[in-house]
Amino acid sequence: MTRHLSMPRLQAYLKDTELPARSVLWPVEEAQKIIRYGSFVGSLVEHHRTLDRAMIHARAHIEGCERSNVSVTSGTVILADRLTGSKGRFTRTWYAPQGGLWGCMIYISTLLPRYRILVPLAVGIACCEAVREQGAEQAVIRWINDVLIDSRKVGGFLAENFTGHRSREDYCLLGFGININNSRFPDELDQIATSLKNRLGREVDIEQFTYCFLAKLCWNLGLLYYREQRELEAGNSDSADKHPLVARWLELSDSVGRPVVFGFDVRENPQYRATVTGITNDGGLLLKLDDGAEVVEHSGEIRYVKG
């Protein structure tokens, strides 16, 4: 249950847990700056027992604000104990019963396009970090942002952008679904999905997990602003240095080196086989085809196959 979540408690979590943890690798002042950049995350937390789809609810909320000429609070998080009409990409099923973390964050994007492109990476990293922190150390990211434990999906994300009809704000809806204490899946998902409870053999405190996930989302989105500000300040928008978010993704992902099948909708229309050789600074997947040619994909998905 996430009904008692609050902004002050998230702030306390950031200060007491996230900042000290990040300060091991980052100078404290820089870490504070990054957290300040991402601190819009969870500015408002809305809890529902049941929703159809959190994304639809978020859109309706935005429409209502637009009609009333009221600003939408960036970082508003909409959570539900269960979703009755949830879905994945394309026409795929996403099963969201009681026990998981289901929701969406409304985020008003102010990043330049070349930094905004990494937002989907940030949400996958945040989930993988949070899942590992619960003890599932084997959690990994599969490009772009699927989080897997032992080859089964534990977390999936959707990102949708649209422009407000009146305000012209660039709204980004970040939908998230993380299997935590829900342990049973319908037949079609049984072999490809798992939950933290199934893997850890114990229940996880969802409220605590949510603070942890949102704190990590705050950090990883904050990193995007931090890097943007530094590059703009230095007048170097095409830096060859690895973006810290990309570097972190590489640490958490098992995609590099894997033979894969690639497709825009890989389940319905697999396009080709290749081996993942890396990731570009703008999140593109580097693939080497059987004939030695190299391609970069910025959109689509992969499935691991045997070499």
Binding site: R89, P113, I117, L118, V119, P120, L121, I144, N145, F157, L158, A159, E160, N161, F162, T163, C172, D238, A240, G263, F264, D265, N269, Q271, Y272, G283, L289, D291, A293, E294, V295, H298, S299, G300, E301
Partner: protein, 217 residues
């Protein structure tokens, strides 16, 4: 679309010069070193997924970071700015021109692109029709779907982030589709060509006439 179409003028133009000229510009600042000469034949990207790069045209080196630029299309190097060899150039500076021979199909497409309203890709990404538009295609078939300004016609997909794209052109029938689902489109490239309903007959006339006249040549 409001102006009258002078078929004779358009056809005469293509008949006298059945080529398309593609200017290749510097993608960013840097020092240029050519890999081709005027008159060289160049190849387009190849392979099943167009993943084999076209002929290497030049290298551009910025801060010890050399980048090879390849031909996006086949043809002959018709112009090369030799004075740029070994020189530092600005981003966007024209470096050479490729003369690409047009086929009948290309010419029909080129003429259609002159007479249809072309709706461009707002960003470099992959595109697909919105669910509503796709279901209208499924029901009514090709050239049976009318779109209006303000309608969400496409979904743009980039890094698993989907953005609805609102159509802002003239009301009309989707006559030509220039993208395939799952294939990346560069920013500014046309996604669809739209024809107002009352001009459909005219468009058909263009196609029929080009086919007939080109075959007679």
């Amino acid at each position: 679309m409001t102006r009258e179409i002078d078929f004779d003028e358009i056809l005469a133009r293509y008949r006298s010069d059945p080529y398309k000229y593609i200017d290749i510009v510097a993608p960013h600042t840097g020092t240029v070193s050519y890999l081709v000469e005027k008159g060289n034949e160049v190849e387009a990207p190849g392979g099943e997924w167009k993943h084999i790069p076209g002929t290497s045209l030049f290298k551009i080196n910025r801060e010890n970071n050399p980048k090879t630029v390849n031909a996006p299309i086949n043809g002959i190097i018709s112009e090369i700015r030799g004075e740029c060899e070994g020189r530092f150039v600005e981003a966007g500076e024209k470096l050479l021109t490729i003369r690409h021979p047009l086929k009948k199909k290309d010419i029909i497409e080129s003429i259609l692109k002159e007479v249809l309203y072309l709706f461009p890709a707002p960003e470099s990404a992959k595109f697909f029709f919105s669910l509503d538009i796709q279901s209208r295609f499924d029901k009514k078939g090709t050239r049976g779907v009318t779109i209006r300004p303000g309608e969400e016609v496409f979904t743009m997909s980039l890094m698993k982030r989907d953005t609805p794209v609102t159509y802002t052109g003239v009301e009309g029938i989707i006559h030509s589709i220039y993208f395939k689902p799952g294939v990346s489109i560069q920013q500014g490239e046309p996604l669809v060509g739209v024809c107002p309903v009352d001009k459909l007959g005219l468009i058909q006339k263009v196609i029929t006439r080009v086919k007939a006249e080109w075959d007679a040549m």
